[in-house]
Symmetry: T
Subunit: 69 residues, 12 copies
Amino acid sequence: MSDHVYKAVELTGSSTENSDEAIRNAIAKAAKTLHKLRWFEVTDIRGHIEDGAIAHWQVSLKVGFSLDA
Amino acid sequence: MSDHVYKAVELTGSSTENSDEAIRNAIAKAAKTLHKLRWFEVTDIRGHIEDGAIAHWQVSLKVGFSLDA
Amino acid sequence: MSDHVYKAVELTGSSTENSDEAIRNAIAKAAKTLHKLRWFEVTDIRGHIEDGAIAHWQVSLKVGFSLDA
Amino acid sequence: MSDHVYKAVELTGSSTENSDEAIRNAIAKAAKTLHKLRWFEVTDIRGHIEDGAIAHWQVSLKVGFSLDA
Amino acid sequence: MSDHVYKAVELTGSSTENSDEAIRNAIAKAAKTLHKLRWFEVTDIRGHIEDGAIAHWQVSLKVGFSLDA
Amino acid sequence: MSDHVYKAVELTGSSTENSDEAIRNAIAKAAKTLHKLRWFEVTDIRGHIEDGAIAHWQVSLKVGFSLDA
Amino acid sequence: MSDHVYKAVELTGSSTENSDEAIRNAIAKAAKTLHKLRWFEVTDIRGHIEDGAIAHWQVSLKVGFSLDA
Amino acid sequence: MSDHVYKAVELTGSSTENSDEAIRNAIAKAAKTLHKLRWFEVTDIRGHIEDGAIAHWQVSLKVGFSLDA
Amino acid sequence: MSDHVYKAVELTGSSTENSDEAIRNAIAKAAKTLHKLRWFEVTDIRGHIEDGAIAHWQVSLKVGFSLDA
Amino acid sequence: MSDHVYKAVELTGSSTENSDEAIRNAIAKAAKTLHKLRWFEVTDIRGHIEDGAIAHWQVSLKVGFSLDA
Amino acid sequence: MSDHVYKAVELTGSSTENSDEAIRNAIAKAAKTLHKLRWFEVTDIRGHIEDGAIAHWQVSLKVGFSLDA
Amino acid sequence: MSDHVYKAVELTGSSTENSDEAIRNAIAKAAKTLHKLRWFEVTDIRGHIEDGAIAHWQVSLKVGFSLDA
């Protein structure tokens, strides 16, 4: 039970709505190809501005998953 | 008025809803035993993933309070 | 098209509602005097606590804009 | 002599005079309830400005003390 | 099951043996007064040198525990 | 009362006397053109050495001011 | 001989024994699918605590390998 | 001669050529409106990729100038 | 157009010529297997020295690419 | 005039008086053996506490000097 | 007793055995030429991998020693 | 072959030409007195500006060399 190994990949999700939604979009995308996702950690919160308002949010995160069979 | 002293403690709140709610949960918990809470600062935004979606958000924060009588 | 120059300023927005709204408030304020806003990056998420609850959120961000004519 | 354990708490002291005095104020306050204080380390030097001058200095520091009986 | 709140304290353990033992000493000390310890994270690995050899190791760590009843 | 927006600028003050005076010089200079200064935070403490002694101290700080009318 | 390109992946190994063993476990796992492993760098030393003692160590590391044919 | 005050602004220059040219472009732009530029410090080296090659380099830097009359 | 997801990988390129060439080599290598490369960010500039001169430059960078179909 | 080379050494000065005096002590000591000292930069401000008050201040700094003949 | 001055040098020790041994090797080497060694602090834990296993550990550390006569 | 010990010194090279040349100048200078130079790592890229253009580049780097006989 103890000697698990995990791998983390760095993703950036985006959303026109808000910062939490950008995170959810990145995880949903990752879940399509990576199974056994276990945790995430936000590393950067950014966004693009157009016409004086936020056009879309961009949140970078590390997503960890188990390498165990 | 000037020579106040503050102490900061490090908490991690969690929420199944979103990141801001995790912060509010941590502060609400702290407010039960610590009076004179004055400020907070987020130090980490994480979460656990189950079945390809966020099971709960975990936000770490420093919460500062006055040590004055 | 390539040799653009950008400037970034550091702002802190506040909101009684939530962290994303504090960001939007800072950008809306900046947009009144700075044109060609292009991006933002969050550098700090803080807030003030009164009576054991968040009185207002304070989010610091860098806001970048084009210096091109 | 070797297997001591220490705990560190994070304090913010303030002073209308100068930055060193803010540090001394925080330590004096801590010494009222914590015995066996051993060291401090400054983590942040800030202050409030009123009418174009420093109204009070605020210095954050970690203060370490022995947990040994 | 989801809205737990955790607190982290910062400790420094020491050992004449090695770095891992310094960590174990700090946790063993914490476990005497804090229940529901859940995790630790190393923040600093140091030591004192006497007569050209390591006299004792000093490892600082954050130790997290549940605030739930 | 809550939705204020602040801007921070980065200044470096110098002084032949000491580090606190370098901070005061930077703030005094800023106060001549910026009103509603609210806070400062030290980011760097440096200095120049001539003939084996400190010729002048140079302290960098962020100075925040209100953008509200 | 000079224009090599390397890729680094971020892994977390765990061990019930000690921190170095957690690192060895991560590298052993990586070596099963990645050839030409060249170096590692520790980025985080953590662990889980159960019943007041370390249940398992978790060490995060970057592992670099050659992309050359 | 000693009590000078400096201000630093954060710029991002770009270039299709190389990283040093992006720095020079940012400084040349700044020099058009800011006199008494004194120093710069690189804070970030980035770029955009198109068709598998660098389309333009983007280098962020702090540029300091004297506020003295 | 807004809900894109990107992935970043960490590469180290080398060159006997100069630092920018090491970056170009890493991106050229990545472009052979990864399509839709969008940006890079330098994280480390190093090199090996032989006989008192730089034998080759080694630059680490994050390279981001689109995960969209 | 332009192709100078400098070396920086890391020192820690101490003082029973205050933080600035600890810096001056370190520089005075360095000046006894190193000529052409040019600049310093503070990297850490610490101290030892005895009987609930600061026994001595310890400030770490980098001190740079010219290697030119 | 109070106005001591210390110098720190940055070393990297290596070992085929484990990380603590790499630290001990670096200190043993330093002790041959530097007297009055007082403390060390680990700054980096790395290593080389050959044939899918750790060939040797490389640990960087700052080692401080007294400059007093 | 494995238990080597290295020392790193911190240098700043300058050049009127470009950033890479400033690095080469620092290493060439170091090579005059230090043998067995093995690697370098850039820690800071700065420069002085005169009349609105870069007068000279200043690049700080750590240079490592073997302490083995």
